[in-house]
Subunit: 383 residues, 2 copies
Amino acid sequence: MSDNTSPSRPVRPVKTATNSAEWRRYKEHLRAWKNARLDKQLEAEKTEEIQEEQSVSSIDTPVEIPKGRSYTLSIALPASILRNAQSNELRTYLAGQIGRAACVFNIDEIIVFDDDEITEEHDNNPFSASEQLIRLLEYLECPQYLRKQFFPRQKLLEYAGLLNPLDAPHHLRTNESWLYREGVTLPLKPAEGKGSWVDVGLYETRVQIDKHLTAGLRVTIQRTDITREQYFRDPNAQNNKKKRIPGEIVSPSAPRLESGFYWGYQVRKADSIGSIIENCPFVDDNETEESKYDLVIGTSERGVSHEKITNFPRFRHALIVFGGLQGLEKAFEREQNGTTAEQLFDFYLNTCSQQGSRTIRTEEAILITLSCLREKLLASARS
Amino acid sequence: MSDNTSPSRPVRPVKTATNSAEWRRYKEHLRAWKNARLDKQLEAEKTEEIQEEQSVSSIDTPVEIPKGRSYTLSIALPASILRNAQSNELRTYLAGQIGRAACVFNIDEIIVFDDDEITEEHDNNPFSASEQLIRLLEYLECPQYLRKQFFPRQKLLEYAGLLNPLDAPHHLRTNESWLYREGVTLPLKPAEGKGSWVDVGLYETRVQIDKHLTAGLRVTIQRTDITREQYFRDPNAQNNKKKRIPGEIVSPSAPRLESGFYWGYQVRKADSIGSIIENCPFVDDNETEESKYDLVIGTSERGVSHEKITNFPRFRHALIVFGGLQGLEKAFEREQNGTTAEQLFDFYLNTCSQQGSRTIRTEEAILITLSCLREKLLASARS
């Protein structure tokens, strides 16, 4: 074994000392050798780490950038269900169940329709059921940090503290990385040639957009200091600690259309079941026509078992309609324009055959229906 | 036109009167003719009705008598979920949601297991979460007319009025026909040679069984004044107005095993997730071995997507296990006997991929999971 002490390939010194001076020299050698070995190990580890990092975030490596989603799922339900709850607390809780069910299944729109004559309540409740349901659903959908701004203290939201949170992707926490964020325009005077400031719920960080806007508007922001590609390559690389992040206002549908993010639901009211298919709010690219629901499904225990449907026709905007305690049939009785179930629905499905309870509550039906139809629906959705 | 007045084929008298006597005779004739026509019509209608009835309930017509069901579905869930509810009212409501979800999907057994260290609560709630959940589930399952007997006023049931009713097949109303019924033995002294009286929730009708039993027992009754065949041939032919209906005590599983009725769920407690599969309570005919769960499915967002499972192996007693807020993984951490998820579960499934909320609450997971697995489960169930 040769005494090769070159630093590139150190060899452990051989213990040949016979006196104390040689012994000291030997120990010094040994220490040097040990240190060299340690340095080398550390260096090797570092190189490995860098290589690993590069293999993950190297510009040459293809990163999977999520595709956008152009199809939408809407649900419609009767306002009367709220009236069947026993107290304002439980009415609030019920609205929360509906909001959560919608969120769990990526529902883009909730339509609340009136299904009975009682549109105003006079039993010490000055709000109509649809008004209350819509307000609660909107409150729940709004990111927590914007609620004070858009939902001042009010009787309708008295028990909002009982709502279970949506925990939706657009309810971003302060420490989370982001590409899009909901915000409110601020009443701060921007510098000459600069756009308005937007509060996006980050304590020390504000977004500056390129336009001047009135204060107090709810806006969807896309940050412009990084590209979509950069974001998806390494979402955690962004620095949220900056005082100013440049951004631009995008459509609330942009996170879905561009990046396939679920970005909450919108809520609207329809006067009766016959008018739910009017005013489809979605914007389709490359289409000159107005958008409309191209797959409308009614749910009822008197419908055909969903198991008999092997697949749905291709659709872009699906709408699933739920009845109240007395079923969808009741809602049609009230319909003034004479719209019938046959005219409205492409499918009339029973999504829970052999049910062990005589009744299925609407908040249960939403989860049950979306769960068993999900696979078939997604297979027929136009990307 | 001949004046044919034979009663079998009356002809309307012709108005030929020229004086008052003839006029009176004519009117008498007309009245007689009208009466005869009315009688004939009534008779014809009656005959038609009888024929119709015979064509429905004729002894020669094959009647579909439902088959029994020997397979069972059980669910297990952690007691901790109750602790996450904000108030006793909401805890009660949550238990109600779970009971209803179980009922809608014909669940035969609910197992409540402890999944964290806190088994007793000291924040002004003297009951453990599992105790409260079990009591509420049992209360909900009990037919309304037996509740006063088996659930005296108590703190745990303070808000039971908030529970949405199960509306299960064994919660029979007084005007409904029945073959089986839940009841309580009465402290009435029966006549010599006769059995005990049972209150089955019918105001003027009691059931007399063939045995002597202590008063105050909850029993399942099968009426013996009609056979199963007679019942299914014409459920509405029974007379519920009798003062005494003869019956016999059957196992609570008899309605399911013999006639395929869903007959509510039973509830039991397990000390930890590792012990949920012990004490499978179902009785199998023609089997010498003790019954056991032969298909155990765990649910977790970290499981395999349920869509990848095309079918389950044949089973008789399936058990589906749900986690709490922190998932099933948390429950295994606490497991003292070292049972692992791999040992316990035949399948570990994610039943809601692409969920739009970061969390799925257990009461939601039950509906979602049972809805999307239902078809596959039933296809693999041994009849």
